[in-house]
């Protein structure tokens, strides 16, 4: 009984520790800064919902949001297709340099971003893709490709080979085998990579801060940083801005928490 109680205390304390900061920001997002400066830890007495439209319209949040949406959706769409094709090929065809090519792509997972980022900056400037959402999208595809191929390859490799042999004997062309056999079976894994890449790219900061400086092209993380700089002492307003950024992630998370945990842990568990 004592150990049960002890366990309960550990769980509660750790949960408060992990989730507390978000709860705190959530309460502040509904209070005005003058209320907050009286007591930073009070429960909101009057819910100031009007702060959300204020934060949205007073800064360029709608622009940031739209930019993030465009970049993330197009990057993830292309990434999934390109990654799935490569992963299918690595898992299904036996050719001499198969493992070598796979290793070449996979090894990029450990590259520190600096090794590419300066040259990417130069290259994108040269081709007029600096400060452009297309440029950022292309870079994002390249950045997430190794992880995507890695997750999908390990899933494709576990699909029983008999299925493909049967399709081949039936005279399916190679493309149809991929499109009509591999992809439908791999849908759970594909969903995992889609959700995972969406969250990771939605939060991405380093490449964005290097490749985008134009106010009209900023993605959400850059926008939040900018917003913080503008409001500076207006803690209440920044808290509202933070909540606007957190909410989409939380919504995705509520619907797909299991898939997401799977995706995040896929690399860690063999």
């Amino acid at each position: 009984m004592i150990s049960r109680a002890f366990l309960f205390i550990v769980v509660t304390v750790y949960t408060a520790f992990a989730a507390g900061p978000f709860l705190w920001v959530a309460t502040m997002s509904l209070r005005t800064t003058s209320e907050i400066s009286l007591d930073h830890y009070a429960w909101p007495e009057k819910l100031h919902w009007e702060k959300f439209p204020q934060a949205w319209f007073n800064s360029n949040y709608s622009v940031y949001f739209e930019n993030s949406l465009i970049v993330v959706v197009s990057a993830v769409a292309i990434l999934t297709m390109v990654g799935a094709m490569a992963a299918h090929c690595f898992a299904r065809y036996r050719f001499r340099i198969n493992r070598l090519l796979y290793f070449v792509i996979f090894s990029a997972i450990i590259f520190p971003p600096q090794i590419t980022i300066i040259a990417l900056f130069q290259t994108l400037v040269q081709y007029g893709l600096y400060n452009s959402l297309i440029g950022l999208t292309l870079v994002y595809i390249a950045v997430q490709l190794p992880l995507t191929v890695y997750i999908l390859e390990s899933f494709f490799a576990r699909i029983p080979a008999d299925l493909f042999d049967a399709a081949r004997i039936d005279g399916y062309p190679e493309w149809h085998i991929f499109w009509k056999v591999s992809l439908p079976i791999a849908l759970p894994a594909i969903a995992t990579t889609v959700i995972l890449n969406t969250i990771l790219l939605w939060n991405e900061f380093l490449y964005a801060v290097v490749l985008i400086t134009d106010e009209a092209k900023r993605t959400l993380p850059l926008g939040i940083q900018r917003f913080m700089g503008d409001q500076l002492e207006d803690v209440g307003m920044i808290a509202t801005g933070l909540m606007i950024a957190i909410i989409p992630v939380v919504i995705i998370y509520i619907f797909f928490s299991e898939k997401l945990i799977q995706g995040m842990t896929a690399g860690a568990v063999k």
Partner: protein, 310 residues
């Protein structure tokens, strides 16, 4: 271990009349991925290496041989940032994984509402470092931040301090943030690993009446070794890359006490008005080699120990 794995995979692969490979299809499937990889990963790597032997100004590039490397060897801020990054990359995995393991063991016995707790613990990982950074700047605020508020409430007034304003404790304070973020993730992974163990093993250890510590050290840790090692390496790699959190909270200050290689490279490339991209490329090239060497050494060390034990 990897060998048996690839052998098993090779057996699973179909043999489409082995002599005739559908090369057309293979090339078509790989072409898009390799085009992107070549243009946006491989080429930039080589260009960065090329840069590192040059002065790269907006309209002028000049070969200067190893001059950048010589300067780098004497660049105190660079070595400071290497030291900081390594402290981070070594302290974090140990803290995260050991705390997570203890918590996971405490929770191994199923508790009601497990699903809810799992979701709650996982939340910090999903937030961007930008959001997390801003929240923790507030938590560490000297006057009203939660850290000092809790200390004052506990009567430890004297312990209150400017957590990220004091060069002596700024780095540990930032390491604490990443530990807060990632412990839950590690715990969820370890819980999954523990639950996948055959329960007989743990029960048998219980019957043999061996102590808690012995059970942990001799039974549980060896069984989940692969997962533990993977988590350590994963956390290590993540911390070697760290940029966003530092950039939002301290920008490497005060007095370079939290400067990491990522922030220093960024400053030299895009903040300082030297306009030279050659020198930051040298930093990147040297760091690239250090990271590769560190990761290879780690995997090699772990392999080696595996071989010795079994």
């Amino acid at each position: 271990m990897a060998d048996t794995e690839s052998a098993a995979r090779a057996r699973a692969l179909p043999l489409p009349s082995a002599e005739r490979q559908p090369w057309g299809a293979i090339i078509a499937f790989l072409l898009p991925a390799f085009t992107i990889y070549t243009a946006l990963t491989a080429y930039p790597v080589f260009r960065t290496l090329w840069n590192s032997f040059h002065t790269v100004l907006p309209r002028k590039e000049e070969f200067i041989g190893l001059a950048n490397y010589v300067t780098l060897a004497q660049d105190d801020i660079f070595w400071r940032s290497v030291k900081n990054t390594f402290i981070w990359a070594c302290a974090s995995p140990l803290a995260e994984v050991s705390i997570a393991l203890l918590l996971a063991l405490a929770l191994y016995a199923k508790i009601p509402g497990m699903r809810f707790f799992r979701i709650a613990w996982f939340t910090p990982v999903l937030m961007s470092y930008v959001v997390v950074g801003i929240i923790w700047v507030w938590i560490y605020n000297y006057d009203w931040g939660a850290a000092n508020a809790i200390l004052r409430a506990l009567g430890l007034e004297g312990w209150a301090r400017a957590w990220i304003g004091d060069p002596k404790i700024a780095l540990p304070s930032l390491i604490f943030i990443t530990t807060w973020m990632w412990t839950g993730f590690n715990m969820v992974v370890l819980l999954a690993a523990l639950h996948s163990l055959p329960s007989e093993v743990i029960e048998a250890a219980e019957l043999d009446n061996c102590g808690w510590g012995a059970k942990l050290w001799h039974v549980i840790i060896p069984l989940i070794r692969p997962t533990l090692l993977n988590l350590l390496v994963l956390s290590f790699i993540g911390k070697m890359k760290i940029f966003d959190l530092v950039w939002i909270t301290t920008k490497g200050g005060p007095l370079w006490s939290t400067e990491t290689v990522s922030t220093y490279t960024y400053k030299r490339a895009f903040e300082w008005t030297t306009f030279d991209l050659g020198y930051p490329s040298t930093i990147a090239a040297v760091w690239f080699v250090i990271v590769l060497a560190a990761v290879l050494t780690l995997t090699w060390l772990f392999r080696q120990r595996d071989r010795l034990e079994y």
